[in-house]
């Protein structure tokens, strides 16, 4: 048998069932079928089978003591209890699995809700909030003008088209401005205002983002992070980010008063 079959199949053949019934195990059936196709292996298997049958027949003739035989009169006297579903549920393995599934479902729901709040450009807006929190006045070019003039300022100085501040914020007083390239090489304009804790950002809409139809009123989308909250509106391919130090709720209240 050694030379003709794989080790796994040899092992299975050594434990080949004694009864003539076809084994229910697929691996065993396959090993037996393979052995039967090789004449030498088939002869060896046949000799082994006859030997095993003879021994099993001898085992069957072993007399069972009377004291033990009496127990088999009612074979169902002692029956194993089937686990109830309540007992199954309380099993530590089931509890641990259920807990793991719950945690995974919670994480999935969390990410799903997070994703619902996302919009094209939200990742950039979040990065801008980090920039806002770290900005120092010395990094800006000093200005002293109304925000309405910034569109012309950026166009004249940096050739940035449509970098206009929305009319609702036109009366803010700009005290500093700078233009820098973000990680993706996009030009970003940052405006420091006389009002403390408020900044403007203007940056181009991400490439590949679906162009939004021009709404009658600007649609504000909110992001927060790093202790700052931001409201983003898109116009003419440029995003305007109103960044404020505080929470999203505070920003919403502030803008509701402002845009009324």
């Amino acid at each position: 048998m050694r030379r003709w079959l794989s080790r796994r199949k040899r092992d299975l053949i050594e434990c080949a069932p004694i009864s003539e019934r076809s084994p229910s195990d697929r691996a065993m059936r396959s090993a037996l079928e393979t052995a039967l196709t090789i004449p030498e292996a088939a002869a060896s298997l046949s000799a082994q089978h006859q030997f095993d049958v003879a021994l099993a027949n001898l085992v069957r003739t072993i007399a069972i003591p009377k004291a033990a035989e009496e127990w088999f009169v009612n074979g169902a006297l002692i029956k194993g209890a089937k686990r109830s579903w309540k007992k199954t549920v309380r099993h530590p393995a089931i509890l641990a699995t259920a807990l793991a599934v719950l945690v995974m479902a919670g994480i999935a729901i969390f990410f799903f809700v997070e994703r619902l709040n996302e919009f094209p450009g939200s990742a950039t807006a979040k990065k801008m909030l980090v920039v806002a929190s770290a900005a120092r006045r010395s990094e800006f070019e000093r200005l002293n003008t109304d925000a309405i003039n910034l569109g012309d300022y950026f166009f004249m100085k940096n050739q940035l088209e449509h970098f206009d501040v929305p009319m609702q914020f036109a009366d803010f007083r700009a005290s500093g401005a700078r233009v820098f390239d973000d990680e993706d090489g996009h030009r970003v304009a940052q405006v420091l205002l006389a009002e403390r804790g408020v900044q403007f950002f203007l940056y181009p809409v991400e490439k590949g983002a679906q162009p939004t139809p021009k709404p009658a009123r600007p649609v504000w989308r909110y992001v927060d992070g790093d202790g700052w909250a931001g409201a983003v509106a898109e116009r003419d391919g440029v995003c305007f980010l109103f960044a404020m130090h505080g929470t999203e709720a505070e920003l919403r209240t502030y803008l509701a008063d402002r845009l009324r």
């Binding site: 080790r7 092992d11 299975l12 434990c15 006859q50 099993a56 033990a68 002692i78 209890a81 089937k82």
Partner: protein, 140 residues
């Protein structure tokens, strides 16, 4: 497994007692292998203080064509004595295998072993039994 009818009976009774106890508590598993597993455990517990077979090299012979007819000349006590003299866990493997009740997977489960080991115990058991058979039935 025990090579002694009285001990076998004791192991059987202890197994039934354990089953009854677990059943009264509603803890008896509905698994037919449980009884065999428990019976083996009881047999091993009862024979652990007996003289154990030495781990010597037992002669082996290839299966002979006349083996079935020679086996037919034996009486079951001789077979029982031979199997009970085998070292553990080969003894349990041979006992389970020749009971002709279990698949190889069930035997692996009962003996908590791998396929290769189980196959080795049974294969060597056959060859060793053949060698012993040649001795006891020679000239009969």
């Amino acid at each position: 497994m025990t090579g002694d009818e009285q001990k076998a009976l004791l192991a059987f009774q202890d197994t039934v007692r354990e089953a009854a106890l677990l059943s009264s508590r509603g803890q008896l598993p509905a698994d037919r292998l449980w009884a065999f597993h428990e019976a083996r455990h009881q047999c091993l517990a009862l024979t652990k203080d007996d003289v154990q077979p030495e781990s010597a090299t037992v002669p082996e012979e290839p299966i002979a064509s006349d083996a079935p007819s020679r086996v037919a000349r034996l009486n079951p006590e001789q077979l029982g004595a031979w199997i009970s003299a085998a070292p553990e866990p080969q003894r349990s493997a041979l006992a389970f295998f020749y009971l002709n009740e279990f698949s190889h997977r069930e035997m692996q489960n009962l003996l908590d072993t791998k396929m290769g080991e189980l196959a080795g115990w049974i294969s060597h058991g056959r060859s060793q039994f053949q060698a012993w058979l040649n001795c006891v039935t020679e000239g009969r």
